[in-house]
Amino acid sequence: MEPGKVLHIWDRCKQNDRKAQAELYQLYASKMYAVCLRYARDNFEAEDMLQQGFIKVFNKGAQFEGTGVLEGWIRRIMVNTAIETYRRHKITFVSVESEAAVSTADSSHFSLGHMDYKDLLKLVQELPIGYRTVFNLYAIEGYSHREIAEMLNISEGNSKSQLSRARAWLRERILKMEELGI
């Protein structure tokens, strides 16, 4: 869809036009749901994030000046919503180091090149919440450790160590899957 039309929809969204809001949702829901899924533990949590995120988008519509890309702004809102979820769950889940067994279900012919979206998402979702959030923000969203430290209210060193642990955890999982695949 061309940017002009998107901005027109966005203008109507800001005027609380329900039809335009529905159109905007249709436009970005699947992309944003994919973002939420990366940060969430499961589909239900991702659904909650997506819902809260879109409500924020429509309620704080006036804050988007139109200077940047609308999709990027909406994505940031989704990420912020995910971070809020992280803050809520940090206290309860930070100590729980998931020792989930290696899933063997769909890894008959496993190799890096053949890892599809579902496999990758599954791996990310299985990461402990701290690792998952930092890995998402650094490796996929592209934030620096300083930014991540500010966002999550942790030290930069903590962010770095969380990232390296996340990588190690993922590497181990991938290698095991490859072994099983071979």
Partner: protein
């Protein structure tokens, strides 16, 4: 596998991915969004319903207020008020009868008394004037003159009177109050009017005695009261037994008489 390889792998596979959002989520989001102009009409309609309900309640309230007027207690209250009005009415009309007496009392037998009377007139001008006004049509010219004199004189300076009597202001004050009390006495007791007294007591006693009666009993008792029988000849009661005893022979005998 290097760090960068892992990062790239996931970034490539996940960054621009799309995943169909769960169905029905839009409805959930829509429910939490602020109401639009189209949906904003709802509260107004609701407000109208509330207004209608309030008006209905108000009407009911007023209706009940009037309905309550038919309540026996309130009726009794009303009757009592009516009786009071009846009592007070004659009381107002009494001064004409008593005024001549008051006027007679004002008559100067001794000079001292007159001066005292004058002072009372000065201290209680309202009462005396009222009495005078009421008495005017009935009293004789002589009496009128007697009543008139204090009214003219009570405007005269009090000091002059005190000099005449040779008493201190405090003493005079005491004497005047005593006189005032003596003056008021005949007007005060409203119950002294015999007819009214009877009216009051009889009414109140009746209200107290009255037991709960059904409509039928009321009607029958009304009839019984109108045929002028003795109190024990006809009796009606609300009891479950429902005995009615009428001594017809006696009533017939009385009617003949």
């Amino acid at each position: 596998m290097k760090d960068q390889e892992i990062d790239d792998l996931f970034a490539k596979g996940l960054k621009d991915a799309e995943s169909p959002a769960p169905a029905g989520l839009w409805a959930k989001i829509e429910a939490e969004l602020p109401p639009t102009e189209a949906t904003a009409k709802k509260p107004l309609v609701l407000w109208r319903y509330f207004a209608a309900a309030a008006v209905l309640l108000l009407c009911l309230g007023i209706g009940f207020r009037f309905f309550d007027a038919a309540d026996p207690n309130l009726q009794a209250e009303g009757k009592a008020k009516l009786a009071q009005a009846e009592v007070t009415e004659p009381a107002i009309s009494t001064p004409p009868q008593e005024a001549p007496v008051a006027a007679a009392a004002l008559k100067p037998d001794v000079p001292q008394e007159t001066t005292v009377k004058k002072k009372t007139a000065a201290s209680k001008p309202g009462i005396v004037q009222l009495a005078k006004q009421e008495s005017k049509p009935e009293v004789t010219p002589a009496a009128l003159a007697q009543v008139e004199t204090p009214r003219i004189n009570h405007t005269a300076p009090l000091e002059a009177v005190l000099v005449l009597l040779d008493i201190t202001p405090e003493e005079s004050l005491n004497s005047t109050t005593a006189a005032a009390m003596a003056e008021v006495k005949p007007i005060q007791p409203l119950v002294n009017i015999i007819e009214n007294e009877e009216l009051m007591y009889a009414q109140q006693a009746k209200e107290e005695k009255k037991p709960r009666q059904s409509l039928l009993t009321k009607v029958l008792n009304g009839i019984a009261g109108n045929i002028n029988l003795g109190p024990s000849d006809v009796q009606f009661s609300n009891d479950e037994e429902g005995n009615i005893r009428i001594d017809l022979t006696k009533s017939l005998a009385r009617n003949r008489r």
